[in-house]
């Protein structure tokens, strides 16, 4: 190992440049990967959050805070064979125009009492307590949102002009609830109605409004089957999203982020491997005589191959570690400088993956030059100058 390091130090500048080549690649991989990892965490949480039930929205709804659906439909939905309960939920963006942010927008949400009973996704307070359906003018806040607005229990927070006393802060879920202000269904319905244009507001009663109705299947009833039954039930004006529909949507988004990671991995691959190939080819060319000597002294082809591969692996490993370190520094700096949602997460698998990737890249790129070295004819090698 010492001899490997010493060989690397023979040409300090060249080794440094090669390490830099890998560093740049792994740096890109770390930063882009951290972004994708954060998204994947959100999406994985989202799958869990949204896929335990059938989501029923108004057929004219195009998103989370589009056209409302009537809570009255809940009763009909609950009667569909296999349905355990139908729970109206309301969600609207915290700030009117904020729907187009990176990731998930900050939301104000509320749901009917059945949610905590039926939903597989459980919420736990980090401070204070959870919201109750009888609550008025109080809120519990997701962990990200609490960090963003520096909120704590007992403080008053205004959402859509309504003052809300914070009674609880949620534990981090790594997905949507982290960015939600949760209030009672009654309160969010009032807010929802108030933000509708006067034209739409006319004739609507706050208590009748829901953004969606979550229909929970009975135990042993498949969510997709329940969705199919709801579709066949003939209830007019509804759009039914089955758990697998939701999962598919999330999977599509996951694919996008994985493509981003792949892209940065390819950058790392090209930049890093070219520099390793160049460096290793140069050091083999410079050390031809030495290789001949080692062979004359009894070194096997495999020993020479190992020596050079080890050198390439160490260059890859150091470059990978440095790239990961620098990438993590940048990502952490950005994360702590952003007041809004954090967009990076350097996960354990990303860190290990990036360093491993760089090391393997070093070995793979160093393989051909190393093989050339190992196969040199000792007589020719010794004769070279």
């Amino acid at each position: 190992m010492i001899s490997v390091l010493r060989n690397m130090m023979r040409r300090k500048l060249r080794t440094l440049l090669t390490v830099l080549g890998i560093l740049i690649g792994v740096f890109a991989l770390t930063v882009m990967g951290a972004m994708a990892e954060k998204m994947n965490l959100l999406l994985a949480g989202g799958v869990e959050y949204y896929s335990g039930h059938v989501t029923v929205t108004s057929s004219s709804d195009s998103g989370f805070s589009g056209a409302p659906i009537s809570t009255a439909l809940g009763k009909r939905l609950a009667r569909v064979d296999g349905a355990a309960a139908a729970v109206p939920v309301v969600g609207l963006t915290l700030k009117g125009g904020q729907s187009a942010t990176f990731g998930i927008p900050d939301m104000v949400t509320g749901f009917a009492a059945g949610f905590t009973k039926y939903d597989k996704f459980k919420l736990y307070p980090a401070q204070g307590r959870l919201i109750r359906s009888s609550d008025r003018g109080v809120a519990m806040v997701g962990s990200e949102l609490a960090r963003e607005y520096k909120l704590h229990v007992g403080q008053t927070f205004r959402a859509h002009g309504t003052p809300l006393k914070i009674v609880g802060i949620l534990q981090a879920t790594m997905t949507a609830p982290d960015q939600e202000v949760m209030v009672s269904l009654h309160d969010v319905q009032q807010m929802f109605l108030a933000q509708l244009p006067p034209m739409l507001r006319k004739g609507l009663k706050a208590g009748d409004i829901a953004s969606a109705i979550n229909v929970y299947p009975k135990p042993n009833v498949n969510g997709d089957l329940l969705a199919a039954r709801i579709k066949r039930s003939g209830i007019p004006g509804i759009k039914v999203s089955s758990p697998s529909d939701m999962r598919k949507q999330f999977d599509q988004m996951t694919v996008v982020f994985n493509v981003i990671v792949m892209g940065s991995a390819i950058i790392a691959l090209v930049v890093g491997s070219l520099s390793v190939i160049n460096t290793m080819a140069m050091s083999v060319a410079e050390r031809v005589k030495e290789i001949g000597l080692k062979k004359a002294l009894g070194a096997h082809t495999v020993s020479i191959l190992q020596e050079y591969l080890m050198e390439a692996a160490v260059i890859g490993f150091i470059g990978g570690l440095a790239g990961l370190g620098l990438g993590s520094l940048l990502v952490n700096a950005i994360n702590s400088a952003t007041t809004t949602t954090q967009i990076f997460a350097v996960t354990g698998r990303l860190a290990i993956g990036a360093v491993l990737f760089a090391t393997i890249l070093g070995v793979a790129a160093g393989f051909l030059p190393a093989l050339r070295a190992a196969r040199l004819n000792p007589v020719d090698a010794l004769r070279s100058e």
């Binding site: 001899s3 060989n7 030495e290 062979k295 004359a296 009894g298 070194a299 082809t301 000792p378 007589v379």
Partner: protein
């Protein structure tokens, strides 16, 4: 007993469209413990002969037997084993690895041979060649004579049967050259190893038991000097070596 036996060895190199007959039917027996020199003009084929004895190169035709093993059919890996366990090389340009210390250079062949106690053995060899106080010096910080001593210690570190030296004094002045030759000779007498020394210096050749003359890839003559041995009562190894030389000095081939 012959430690090296060449039977009608030919070596043909192809340089472009030209064929160069570097060795043209060499037959040679070298006995265990012999202190042999090979002389010839440059291009006569003496280095090729040394490379073939050292299993660094394969003959185009003919047989090479090292320690009773016919090497013709051996794979590269087995040849590497023979090089590492049975043969030690001393090169004209000493060929030390400059970034390694004297000690590390001497330990290197033992690593390839998979030997234990490398450090102790390397220290012992360096002491034997008079460099006990230079073990931690990098090869690049040693003088020419010292480097050649390290190279000799390295060649002997694995306790090989045969030491092949290609112009070991070629880069040294006459005083250093005499020192190196007397060192090689004393090692030969004390350790009983076989030495094959390629040289074009007659004073070097005169110190060996036998000189083979190579001309145009063939053995053109032989000179036997049983009296080349230093005066004084020979050690047991030395008398064995002498007996071996006498036994093997019948006409080559």
């Amino acid at each position: 007993m012959a430690i090296v036996e060449l039977r009608d060895v030919h070596k043909i190199y192809h340089v472009g469209k030209e064929s160069v007959h570097a060795l043209a039917g060499v037959s040679l027996r070298v006995n265990q413990g012999e202190f042999l020199s090979v002389m010839g003009r440059s291009g006569s084929g003496k280095s090729t002969l040394l490379n073939i004895i050292g299993c660094l190169d394969r003959p185009t035709r003919g047989e090479v037997v090292i320690g009773g093993v016919n090497t013709n059919s051996l794979r590269d890996g087995r040849l590497a084993d023979i090089r590492s366990r049975r043969i030690g090389f001393v090169f004209q340009m000493h060929n030390l690895i400059p970034i390694m210390t004297a000690l590390e250079n001497v330990m290197l062949p033992m690593k390839y041979a998979g030997l234990r106690n490398r450090r102790e053995r390397a220290l012992e060899m360096l002491e034997r060649v008079g460099l006990a106080d230079r073990v931690k010096y990098r090869a690049s910080d040693l003088s020419g004579g010292q480097r050649q001593r390290v190279a000799i210690a390295r060649a002997l570190s694995t306790n090989p049967d045969i030491v092949l030296a290609d112009e070991p004094t070629g880069q040294l002045d006459s005083q250093l050259s005499a020192q190196i030759m007397s060192l090689l000779r004393s090692l030969n007498l004390d350790l009983g190893q076989t030495f094959v020394i390629v040289t074009h210096d007659p004073t070097v050749a005169e110190q060996t038991d036998r000189t083979i003359r190579v001309l145009d890839g063939k053995i053109a003559g032989e000179e036997i000097r049983p009296l080349a041995r230093p005066e004084g009562p020979p050690s047991e190894a030395a008398s064995n070596a002498l007996a071996a030389i006498m036994a093997g000095s019948n006409p080559a081939g």
